[in-house]
C-alpha cells in the first residue's frame, strides 16, 4: 500500500516548491520593485541633523559691527537620565521652584520624549552659567550646550536690524519649500527678515542612524552624504551708527521718526523710529516678557514709523507743489501773491496763513505761505488746457509720482507703506463728478488726503538736492562675497523726475529752502558754516480718544539737505504733537546734519541746543495718560501681590496697600494697554478734520 501512494510524495514536493515560489515572488515584489520601502526605511532610520551656520554679521558704513553673534548656553536635560537629582539645589541655582521644575520636566517629556535631549532653561545669564558650570556634575542627566545668539553691541537700530525668532506654523506654511523646520530661527523683522537668505548662510546636514526611540546610534555610512554648513554672509550697511545713536538719543522721550539719506547713493544714513527699544531686549532668556511689554506699550514701539506710518506731509509738500507749478508755468519765480490772513481764492477763508503780506516764490517758501501755494495748486488744477479737474489732477499726480510719492519706493526693509496720492475717482465719490480745485485745496499745503511716509519725504529732499534724480533709498550697501540673489540690483538704477522740470526750477526751490534756514521759519536751526536747505512743516491732526476725534497738538515736521552745493545728507524728521516744525523737528535735523558733516556739535549755543533736545520730553499727552494708567494698574497689582506675600508670611503684620498717585512720568518701556496697531490711529490722526466733515456729509 505504500507503493500506491508513492506519487503523492511528488505532489508534496510540488506543494513545497509552489509555496516557496510564492514567497520568492513576494520577495521580488518587495525587494526589487517597491522603491517605497527603501524610502520608508530611510525615513525611519536616518536622522538628518541640520547644522546651523553662524548668521552673517552686519556692519555699518564705518565697518563697525552693529549686529554680531555671541555664544550663550542652554541647560538641557535627558529626562530618563535625570533620576535622583537634587531638585531643590538645581531650582535654587536657576531661581525657579520645584513646581516649575516638575512642570518643565513634564513639558519636555511631552515635547521630545523621555530619552532625547530637551531644553530645560534656554539662554542662561552669565551668572547662572557660572554657577551651573561648577555644579553640573551633581545633576545627572543635565548638561550645558553652547549656542550662538544675536548680539547688538551698540544697542541701536532695533527697527532697521530687526530680530530673529523661532519659526511658527504660519511661517512654515508660508515658506514650505525652503527647508525650515520646527525649532529653526528665522528673521522676523527688519534686515534680519529682508536679507534672511543672505544672512542665514547654508545649513549643513549630518546624517545619523537613529533607533526606534529616535536615539542617535552613530553616523550614517561614515558621513559620506554629509554636507558642511556655510556661514551666513556679512553685509555692510550705509547706516552710520554714530548718527543713528545720536538720532535715537535725540528722539528719546518723543514720538516720531528720523530718516536720513545720502542723496548721491540713496543709502540710508540713519532711520530712527521713536520710541525705540534696545534690540538686545529681545535676545536673552527674558525675551518673552520683554516682547510682551513692548508689544503692549500704547506707543507701539515695534512700529517702524520711518516707513510704515502715514503722515500728512504738511508744508514740506509745498516744495513739490511749487516745482509742479513752476514747471507747468502757472507761476514763475517772480509771481506775487498776497495773503490777507487767509487764502482768498476759494472764498471759504481757508486755509489761513500766519504771516500776512505779499510774497514771491522764494519768500513764500521761506515763510511757508499757505495762500501762495494754495494759489499755485488751484492754478495748476484750473488750467484750461486740461479741460477738467480730473485730468489736471492726474497730471499733478504723475509729477508727484516721479518724486517717489504714492507708491512704495522699494526700501529693503519689510513693512514699507506706499503712501496716498488721491486720484480723481476718489473725489468723484465724495464731491460728485463736478468737483473742482477748491474742494481739495488743503492738499496744496500737505494737509489734505495726501499721505506720505517719512522715507518718501526724505527722498523728496534728496531729489531736490540732486536736482531731479534719486536712487531708491536702501540700507544695505554691499554683501560680502557677492550679491548672489541680485538683491541690490534695484538700488543701482537711477530714477529721474519728470523730464520737463529744468534745473533752474530746482535752483529756485533750493533758494527758497536756503532762505527757510537763513532767515525763514527755521532760522533757529541755522548752522554757521554749513549751507542747509530745509522746509518746515506743521501738521494739524486729531486722534480718536474715547471714540471722539479730538484735535491734537500739531506734528512737527522738517525736511532738509546739506550742504547745498555738494549735498551729502538729506533728512526728514517728524516729532509727533510737538508743535511747529521749527520748534522740534528742525533743531533735531540740524543737530544731526552737523554731526554727520562735522562729526561733532560745535559751539556753546549748539551744545546747549543738543542738551535741550536730549532732555526734552515731548511725549504726546494722550500717550502719557495711557502710560500712567498702565503704570498705576501695574503698581496696584504689584502692591497686591506684595500684600498677599506678606500676609501669607506673617499673619500678624498688617500692611497697608499704598496706592500711588498715577505718575505722569513716562516709564522707560513696558505696558499693558490698547493692543491696537498704532499705524491705524496715526492714519486717522493724519486725516484732517476738514475731510472728516466731508465724509460725514456724504455719508448722511
Amino acid at each position: 500500500m505504500p507503493v500506491v501512494n508513492q506519487s503523492r510524495g511528488q505532489v508534496i514536493k510540488v506543494i513545497f516548491a509552489a509555496v516557496f515560489l510564492l514567497i520568492a515572488g513576494q520577495l521580488i515584489n518587495l525587494q526589487l520593485f517597491s522603491a517605497k520601502y527603501k524610502l520608508a526605511a530611510d525615513n525611519n532610520a536616518i536622522f538628518r541633523k541640520i547644522i546651523y551656520p553662524d548668521r552673517g554679521i552686519i556692519f555699518d558704513r564705518k565697518r563697525k559691527a552693529i549686529l554680531e553673534n555671541i555664544n550663550s548656553y542652554d541647560l538641557v536635560v535627558i529626562p530618563s537620565e535625570a533620576k535622583g537629582v537634587d531638585t531643590v539645589a538645581l531650582c535654587n541655582l536657576i531661581n525657579i521652584d520645584t513646581i516649575e521644575y516638575k512642570k518643565r520636566m513634564r513639558e519636555i517629556i511631552f515635547k521630545t520624549g523621555n530619552v532625547r535631549i530637551g531644553v530645560f532653561e534656554a539662554l542662561l545669564t552669565n551668572e547662572m552659567y557660572a554657577r551651573l558650570n561648577e555644579n553640573i556634575y551633581k545633576f545627572p542627566g543635565f548638561s550645558l550646550t553652547e549656542r550662538s545668539v544675536r548680539n547688538y553691541p551698540y544697542s541701536v537700530a532695533g527697527h532697521v536690524l530687526g530680530y530673529i525668532a523661532e519659526v511658527d506654523t504660519a511661517f512654515l506654511r508660508k515658506h514650505r519649500d525652503e527647508g525650515y523646520q520646527m525649532g529653526d530661527y528665522a528673521g522676523y523683522t527688519g534686515l534680519e527678515r529682508s536679507y534672511e537668505k543672505v544672512l542665514m548662510g547654508q545649513r549643513g546636514v549630518k546624517n545619523f542612524i537613529r533607533d526606534n526611540k529616535s536615539r542617535i546610534q552613530g553616523s550614517y555610512e561614515n558621513g559620506i552624504y554629509d554636507t558642511a554648513a556655510v556661514a551666513g554672509k556679512n553685509i555692510h550697511l550705509s547706516i552710520d551708527v554714530d548718527l543713528q545713536k545720536l538720532g535715537e538719543q535725540l528722539m528719546n522721550n518723543k514720538v516720531g521718526s528720523i530718516v536720513a539719506i545720502d542723496p548721491k547713493t540713496g543709502g540710508i544714513l540713519c532711520m530712527v523710529s521713536a520710541p525705540t527699544y534696545d534690540p538686545n531686549y529681545l535676545t536673552g532668556n527674558q525675551r518673552k516678557k520683554h516682547f510682551a511689554d513692548l508689544f503692549l506699550d500704547p506707543r507701539k514701539p515695534f512700529n517702524n514709523r520711518g516707513l510704515g506710518t502715514y503722515y500728512s506731509p504738511g508744508s514740506t509738500f509745498k516744495t513739490v507743489v511749487g516745482i509742479v507749478g513752476l514747471t507747468e508755468g502757472v507761476i514763475n519765480e517772480r509771481t506775487l501773491v498776497t495773503c490777507p490772513g487767509f487764502f482768498t481764492g476759494c472764498g471759504t477763508g481757508k486755509p489761513k496763513c500766519l504771516d500776512k503780506g505779499t510774497f514771491q516764490f522764494k519768500e513764500a517758501v521761506a515763510h511757508s505761505d499757505n495762500s501762495y501755494f494754495s494759489t499755485v495748486f488751484k492754478r495748476t488744477l484750473d488750467q484750461p488746457k486740461y479741460l477738467t479737474a480730473d485730468s489736471a489732477l492726474s497730471v499733478f499726480n504723475s509729477y508727484a509720482s516721479t518724486f517717489g510719492l504714492g507708491h512704495k519706493l522699494g526700501v529693503d526693509l519689510p513693512a514699507e507703506q506706499k503712501g496716498i496720492l488721491p486720484v480723481s475717482s476718489y473725489y468723484r465719490k465724495i464731491f460728485g463728478p463736478r468737483w473742482y480745485s477748491c474742494n481739495i485745496i488743503s492738499n496744496a499745503i500737505g494737509q489734505g488726503e495726501v499721505n506720505t511716509t517719512l522715507v518718501q519725504l526724505a527722498n523728496v529732499m534728496a531729489i531736490i538736492a540732486n536736482k531731479g534724480w534719486y536712487y531708491t533709498p536702501h540700507v544695505v550697501d554691499s554683501i560680502e562675497g557677492g550679491d548672489e540673489y541680485k538683491m541690490l540690483d534695484a538700488f543701482k538704477v537711477k530714477h529721474f523726475t519728470d523730464k520737463r522740470i529744468p534745473d533752474s526750477i530746482y535752483d529756485a526751490v533750493q533758494d527758497g529752502m536756503q532762505a527757510v534756514v537763513d532767515y525763514g521759519t527755521a532760522v533757529r536751526s541755522k548752522i554757521n558754516d554749513i549751507v542747509v536747505c530745509g522746509k518746515t512743516g506743521t501738521v494739524q491732526n486729531s486722534a480718536k480718544i474715547n471714540g471722539k476725534m479730538v484735535p491734537q497738538q500739531d506734528h512737527s515736521f522738517f525736511g532738509a539737505f546739506a550742504p547745498r552745493n555738494n549735498p551729502k545728507i538729506a533728512i526728514a524728521v517728524i516729532c509727533e504733537n510737538a508743535g511747529q516744525g521749527a520748534w522740534a523737528a528742525a533743531p533735531i535735523a540740524s543737530l544731526l546734519i552737523e554731526k554727520f558733516l562735522k562729526d561733532s556739535i560745535r559751539g556753546q549755543d549748539r551744545q546747549a541746543m543738543l542738551e535741550e533736545f536730549l532732555k526734552k520730553n515731548l511725549i504726546p499727552q494722550r500717550y502719557r495718560l495711557e502710560m500712567a494708567k498702565r503704570d498705576s494698574l501695574k503698581q496696584i497689582k504689584e502692591a497686591q501681590l506684595l500684600l498677599q506675600q506678606k500676609i501669607s508670611k506673617e499673619a500678624t503684620d498688617s500692611v497697608e496697600n499704598d496706592e500711588q498717585e498715577p505718575e505722569l512720568k513716562p516709564a522707560p518701556a513696558p505696558a499693558k494697554n490698547q493692543p491696537m496697531p498704532k499705524r491705524k490711529t496715526d492714519l486717522a490722526a493724519a486725516i484732517p478734520v476738514e475731510e472728516k466733515k466731508y465724509r460725514k456729509f456724504t455719508n448722511s
Binding site: 500500500m1 505504500p2 500506491v4 501512494n5 508513492q6 503523492r8 510524495g9 505532489v11 508534496i12 514536493k13 506543494i15 513545497f16 516548491a17 509555496v19 516557496f20 510564492l22 514567497i23 520568492a24 513576494q26 520577495l27 521580488i28 518587495l30 525587494q31 526589487l32 517597491s34 517605497k36 520601502y37 527603501k38 520608508a40 526605511a41 530611510d42 525611519n44 532610520a45 536616518i46 542612524i209 537613529r210 533607533d211 526606534n212 546610534q217 552613530g218 550614517y220
Partner: protein
C-alpha cells in the same frame, strides 16, 4: 568502514550539514539584531548575556542531545511513542497549573536557571511519533474513515490545548500533519475541500458581502444552466449544487462574521483583516466589548508588518551588507530576534540572500522527503513526512507573515529564531529522523 564508530553508521550527513549551516545562520542573524558598535563582540559572544551568546549555548546543548539521540536505538522510539504522547499531553495540561505568563500566553513551564520550556513545542515531536506509531500499526487501515478520525484526533488534541493556552500559532502547526496523512492515503478531496474553503473565507474578507453573495449565486446558476441535462437526469446533482451554494452563502454571511466577532480576539481579527488590506472594526467584537469595561482597548495597528516589510523591502537586490541594516540596528522591527528574524536577513543580504537561504531550506525539505521515501517501515516514513511538514509549515507561515502574506501568528523560523525550546524541538525532530534513517533497513513497528 569498520573502524568507524556506531553513531555515524548510516547517518545522512547531508542533513547534518544543512542543520549545522542553518543553526549557524541563525546565530549570525541574532548577532546582527543585537550587535552594538561599541561592544567587543568576542567578549559578548562568550559572556552568555546576549541572546546570540545564549543561542550558541543552546546550540551546544542541542549538539549533545543530538549525539545522545544518535546513540539510542531506533526501537526505543516506536516503543515509547504512545507513552511520550501521553506525557506531552500531561505536560500541556500541567501548564495550566504551573504555567508562567510570557507575552500573554500561559504556555511556558519554568525549569529553573531562568529557562522556560514551552510544552507545546515538545508536543509536536510526541505527536509526530504517536501518529507514526498509529499509522504503522498492522491493524490500521488508513483508507477507513475510523482510522482517519483517530489519526486526526491525535493531531487535534494538542492543537486544542494550544488554543486554550492562547497559542494560535502553535495550534496551527498541527494542521501540518494533514500533509503527512495525505501521503498515507488521506483522500485528496479533503485537501481540495479545505483549500476551497480557504478561498471562500478570503473572498469573504476581501469582497463586499452582498457582491460575493451575488457572485456565488451567479456561479451556482451558471453551473445549473451548463449542467441542465445532467441535472434533469439526477436529482442528486441538483441537491449537491444547491447544497454547496447554501453552504457557501451561509459561511460567507454568517459563519465568518461570527468567528471574527465572537470567537477571535479583536487583535487577531484586526491582523487577519490587515492582511487583505482592510480595517477591522473592533466595536463589533464581542470579546473586546467585555474587556472595554476594564480598560480602553488599545488600538491595534499593523506596525509589525509594516516595519517588517520596510526592513525586508529596503534590502533590495543585494542587501545593505552585514551589520549595515539600518532598520535592524535601529530596532524598528519588534521581536526581531525571534519571530521576525527573517527581516534581519532580508535587510542585510537582500533578495539574493533570501533566495539562497530559502533554497537551503527547500533543499532540506526535499532531502527529508527523499529520506522518507527510502524508508522500509511505515513508522519511519510517516515520521519523516511529519518532520518535513512541520518544518515546511513553520517556514511558510513565518516567512509569509514577515512579508505580509499571512497574518501574524507567533511561530518561530526553524533553527534560526532565537529560543531554546524551538531549537531543541527541531533538533530532536531532525535527529530522531536521522536515527530512524540510519536504521532504514529495519522494519519498525
Amino acid at each position: 568502514m569498520n573502524n568507524r564508530n556506531n553513531i555515524s553508521q548510516g547517518v545522512d550527513w547531508t542533513i547534518v550539514w544543512l542543520y549545522a549551516i542553518l543553526v549557524s545562520i541563525g546565530i549570525v542573524c541574532i548577532f546582527m539584531v543585537e550587535f552594538k558598535t561599541d561592544a567587543n563582540w568576542v567578549q559578548t559572544f562568550l559572556g552568555g548575556k546576549t541572546n546570540y551568546s545564549k543561542q550558541l549555548i543552546f546550540a551546544g546543548a542541542c549538539a549533545l542531545i543530538a549525539t545522545f539521540i544518535l546513540l539510542t536505538d531506533s526501537k526505543l522510539f516506536t516503543a515509547l511513542a504512545n507513552l511520550l504522547y501521553a506525557f506531552g499531553i500531561l505536560l500541556m495540561l500541567a501548564t495550566f497549573v504551573l504555567g508562567k505568563n510570557i507575552n500573554g500566553s500561559k504556555s511556558w513551564i519554568p525549569i529553573g536557571g531562568g529557562f522556560n520550556l514551552q510544552a507545546a513545542e515538545l508536543c509536536k515531536i510526541f505527536t509526530a511519533l504517536a501518529l507514526a506509531k498509529f499509522l504503522s500499526r498492522q491493524e490500521t487501515d488508513f483508507s477507513k474513515l475510523r482510522s482517519q478520525l483517530i489519526a486526526g484526533a491525535i493531531a487535534v488534541l494538542p492543537a486544542l490545548l494550544s488554543i486554550l493556552q492562547h497559542e494560535l500559532g502553535l495550534a496551527l502547526v498541527y494542521s501540518a500533519f494533514l500533509i503527512a496523512m495525505y501521503r498515507e492515503g488521506l483522500p485528496a478531496q479533503i485537501l481540495i475541500f479545505g483549500s476551497s474553503f480557504a478561498v471562500l473565507v478570503i473572498a469573504t474578507l476581501v469582497l463586499d458581502s452582498n457582491l460575493l453573495a451575488i457572485i456565488l449565486t451567479a456561479l451556482a446558476g451558471g453551473l445549473l444552466l451548463l449542467l441542465r441535462k445532467q441535472v434533469k437526469k439526477s436529482k442528486k446533482l441538483l441537491i449537491l449544487i444547491i447544497g454547496t451554494w447554501l453552504f457557501c452563502v451561509g459561511t460567507q454571511r454568517f459563519v465568518v462574521p461570527y468567528i471574527f466577532n465572537n470567537v477571535l480576539e479583536c487583535y487577531q481579527s484586526t491582523r487577519i483583516y490587515s492582511m487583505v488590506g482592510r480595517e477591522y472594526d473592533c466595536s463589533k467584537n464581542k470579546k473586546s466589548e467585555r474587556k472595554s469595561g476594564e480598560k480602553a482597548a488599545r488600538k491595534p495597528d499593523d506596525y509589525n508588518v509594516r516595519q517588517s516589510k520596510i526592513a525586508i523591502g529596503s534590502g533590495g537586490l543585494k542587501g545593505k551588507g552585514f551589520l549595515k541594516g539600518t532598520q535592524t540596528r535601529g530596532k524598528y522591527v519588534p521581536e526581531q530576534h525571534t519571530d521576525f528574524i527573517f527581516t534581519s536577513l532580508g535587510e542585510a543580504f537582500g533578495f539574493v540572500g533570501c533566495f539562497v537561504f530559502l533554497c537551503i531550506y527547500l533543499f532540506l525539505l526535499f532531502r527529508i522527503v527523499k529520506i522518507a521515501e527510502r524508508q522500509r517501515s511505515t513508522f519511519s516514513r510517516v515520521y519523516a513526512y511529519s518532520v518535513a511538514s512541520i518544518i515546511f509549515f513553520h517556514i511558510a507561515v513565518n516567512v509569509s507573515m514577515t512579508i505580509g502574506l499571512f497574518p501574524i501568528v507567533g511561530i518561530p523560523l526553524p533553527l534560526i529564531s532565537y529560543g531554546g525550546s524551538s531549537l531543541l524541538t527541531f533538533t530532536v525532530l531532525i535527529f530522531i529522523l536521522l536515527r530512524l534513517d540510519a536504521d532504514r533497513q529495519m522494519v519498525l513497528r
